[in-house]
Symmetry: C2
Subunit: 168 residues, 2 copies
């Protein structure tokens, strides 16, 4: 987006800008999740990351569908927030020696990404409805529901298995 002009003039512009931002974020996560799956030692966590990778690819396709429905060009803009979240995940994971502790750190990292997506999709759904785009809102809502479900699954896995093993 422009550094010298104010490119976001309407709510519609803000909606499209946010679509471009989360489109970038989802694509970065498609790149990051295989590494997270490789690093995970708990088999359930490893499989969880692989399942979420498939889901994330679907989220990318859904966003492309929303861009088209809304008559906007499919385009990504840099999203410093997700880059920061992924960098932090890599930095922290790189500092962890113990495998069980690493699993706890990986879940924590994945949940930061999930929460980022939950907040962005939450706004996108609300904005789509406000703009009278219930068709876009319902597609975005599907992804939002899946992100929330993934976050809850990760919490359950952390609390029931990973954290206890990491402290043992």
């Amino acid at each position: 987006m422009g550094l010298f002009t104010k490119d976001i003039k309407t709510m519609d512009d803000l909606f499209v800008h946010q679509l471009q931002d989360i489109y970038y974020a989802e694509k970065q996560l498609v790149k990051a999740l295989p590494t997270m799956a490789d690093r995970a030692t708990n088999p359930e966590l490893k499989q969880g990351f692989l399942d979420h990778l498939d889901q994330t690819k679907t989220h990318v396709s859904r966003l492309e569908q929303v861009f088209k429905l809304h008559g906007a060009t499919v385009k990504a803009v840099d999203c410093p927030a997700i880059d920061g979240i992924i960098n932090e995940a890599n930095e922290t994971a790189g500092e962890v020696e113990d495998k069980a502790v690493l699993d706890a750190a990986l879940i924590n990292a994945a949940q930061a990404a999930e929460h980022y997506e939950i907040t962005r999709y939450g706004s996108l759904v609300a904005w789509a409805k406000q703009l009278g785009r219930n068709d876009c809102a319902s597609i975005l809502q599907e992804t939002l529901d899946e992100e929330k479900a993934t976050d809850q699954k990760l919490t359950a896995l952390a609390e029931k298995k990973i954290n206890a093993r990491a402290v043992a």
Copy 2:
């Protein structure tokens, strides 16, 4: 933290590392919130940011209390995630021309920060309990509850007032 050594060896180390990360994040938010309040045009949103600034200062003090209770040095480590969230907020806000649309963008930015904190405090509470530090867990839980309440307040304000005005 060390670039050449693996400094996180135990769950306790991960807990302290995460405390240092969120301590940095809260301190960055103490710096960012006055600018957000300045930019906001809706008086309720402006006041909301100022109230949350006071709350954030309390969160900083609570973290210092947890560091001390746990016998760890009060210290911040860089948190690329919150830096990314704040940079993205500034970049997007800088591109918005319309005041009402800017308010919608500011709420969205603030909620990304809230969600980051919710996920981090969520892990910290779980880890503190696992480590047998219920004293630390209950202090961290207080902040977690406040972050969740702030997020809900922002959603209500966006849905009831800000978004409709931004589309009008």
